[in-house]
Subunit: 434 residues, 2 copies
Amino acid sequence: MTSTTYRLSWVTSANNHRDFPLQNLPFGIFSPEGLPPRGGVAIGDFIFDLQTAVENSLFTGEALSAAQAASGKSLNAFFALPVSARLALRERLLELLDADYAQLKNLQAQGEALLRPASVCKMHLPAKVGDYTDFYTGIHHAVNVGKLFRPDNPLLPNYKYVPIGYHGRSSTIYPSGFAVRRPLGQTLKPGQEVPALTPSARLDYELELGIWVAGSNPQGEAISIANAAEHIAGFCLLNDWSARDLQAWEYQPLGPFLAKNFATTVSPWVVTAEALAPYRSAQPARPEGDPQPLPYLYDAADQANGAFDIELEVLLHTAAQKAQGLPPHRLGLSNTLNMYWTVAQLITHHTVNGCSLRSGDLLGTGTLSGPTADSLGSLLELSNGGKQAIRLDSGEERCFLADGDEIIMLARCKKEGHPSIGFGECRGVILAAS
Amino acid sequence: MTSTTYRLSWVTSANNHRDFPLQNLPFGIFSPEGLPPRGGVAIGDFIFDLQTAVENSLFTGEALSAAQAASGKSLNAFFALPVSARLALRERLLELLDADYAQLKNLQAQGEALLRPASVCKMHLPAKVGDYTDFYTGIHHAVNVGKLFRPDNPLLPNYKYVPIGYHGRSSTIYPSGFAVRRPLGQTLKPGQEVPALTPSARLDYELELGIWVAGSNPQGEAISIANAAEHIAGFCLLNDWSARDLQAWEYQPLGPFLAKNFATTVSPWVVTAEALAPYRSAQPARPEGDPQPLPYLYDAADQANGAFDIELEVLLHTAAQKAQGLPPHRLGLSNTLNMYWTVAQLITHHTVNGCSLRSGDLLGTGTLSGPTADSLGSLLELSNGGKQAIRLDSGEERCFLADGDEIIMLARCKKEGHPSIGFGECRGVILAAS
């Protein structure tokens, strides 16, 4: 017996695991060594193989349907199921992986076919992304970026009414570990009138929360704010790689395009809303004088409990730091409470015009900077638009990313009486331009 | 014998057909009455059923592989084939459908299983769209819209260097005939400071050419301008429905979102680059003083022969016109020669940063207005921003679209010594807001 008040797992590495205790149970798609992709659940240092589990008749009823849908090569079919089926599977997994599970010997007899060592598995994108939408809910980020262009009036008049968003590129969403090639693009050097095609010299990351969409809505039928939570399949970390010099030259009048569509990196595990339930929070109060959300975006329950208290961390590990044996440098420590809109508000706004969402769509929150210098979510903000370099212990300086730099994002939820849970890593290294 | 110099088909309705003579042979996905979707080829008033044709061993070699890939429920696999396979299938179809085909009796014996009357078939989207990108290549449109906001300086400084584009929504692309529900959205009435959720009062169409992408490129590897033509699977008409009042309030700073993502309509037939070969043209000369394209966007052969001379027509048919037996009103007659960039330039620019295109991606050209009042491609331009209504023979007036209005787009290619070919229809009627 331990002194914890929460349940432990017979997978001992799960207990006190940084990311994946029994209470998390995120879904993902993985390949065991030499085998094709299939669905699994992270538990400690292992992946519970849903294909093996289904073959061994560990599920019945609605949990079986859900396990079958989640055991294929993408989670789209799983995300399309009713909430009750997704919950039934989670309940059964909590039972199977509990330290007190009665028929433990049966499970242990399956060995590595059931419990794959994560270290030898390759992770894939959890779902085939139909559409990817990136929002702009980080109000501190919006103010910081706005100040670079409009010092006296950083926030545009629509910001506090409209959850601003735009469509991103789904073909270039990659799981953690994908190496990102520095993009070429048109840039206009200061003082020049004619642009040139050059490798981006102002390559940046953006720290975001990603939301996987569950279910769908037909064209012309909005998802009400009261029903929006049903359409959250789960969450990931998201790095919206951005080439600031390309963006500055191309983005008027239709928004970012090549500055962002070369790559987006996500953490591969889908952390469910159920796992995050203990870390839900009231939506932070709007500053005095801010308008209330329009009625279609307002729901008392959503305001009271629709936000999430998730700590977000971003680290930089340069090639020189690695060579010198130095640890990564923490660039920022932020929190999803920096979102000006709840996830339910994003879903409802996205569909109020009749736009169809589909299972496996991905939403990004936009960069979630906090209000302080140590909680910023991009180098653009950290370097004040490239004017103040960051100093690293390796003796290096950075305004933007250099080739060989690796960005690592982590998330963490903590609450008294609950184990800490995390998201796994969202990691990407920059390759030299081709 | 006729006096034409071009080949005729034994499918007699093809000869002198408005859209689909033997020389066109566009690909599409259709359902014969009561049967599942499959690939086919438009010929006159009929659809040549590729599934039946494959089953009857009408193909061999590369043409067989291509026919198999094109006979399923989407054309993505067909678009992924090498150009040579797509060409082999076209050559064989030209042979099979030629008036002089030697074994005609064998084909005719198949009856309606091989040649489906188009009137009883339902058309679908030709491919599952991975990503949809909309460009802004219509320079007259860009000037006209720019003038509404910046009378003295309508074109932004990047326009003549960067093929401006942004990502659209792939979940809401519909084939011709889909009824579009008027979107709700946040709008800010003149003089107000607080927006309200209302049905769009400034609903508009945009006349565009759509381009279906063939093949793919890996992340980090651009498609050179010399190779770009291989990545054109074919063309369609595209109506980029737009809610101008939503757009005006939401689009800063990240571009159009809910103002456009509720619906996009395309004509369902994929007219191939091979069918359009006779109608290729030199890219129109840039006005005196305009910069030349940057080297990565410049290819002498593309400048000499990379444009297309396709007439584009847009018609309005209101409920009252229909009730009075009046024909549709022509809103505009334009041409794809109004594109400031070639299709090859769009493909190359899209990938110069390493962004991956995939077979079945869809590109839009942006609104292709001409330089004259009778060649405009949107009501925003026709009504001068909603200030001058258009008068119809029914006695009605329009600044923007009313419920029950139907927009019909047509395309036509004409050249001495060739039959006229068309694209079929791109049609959509507006339903009242929900």
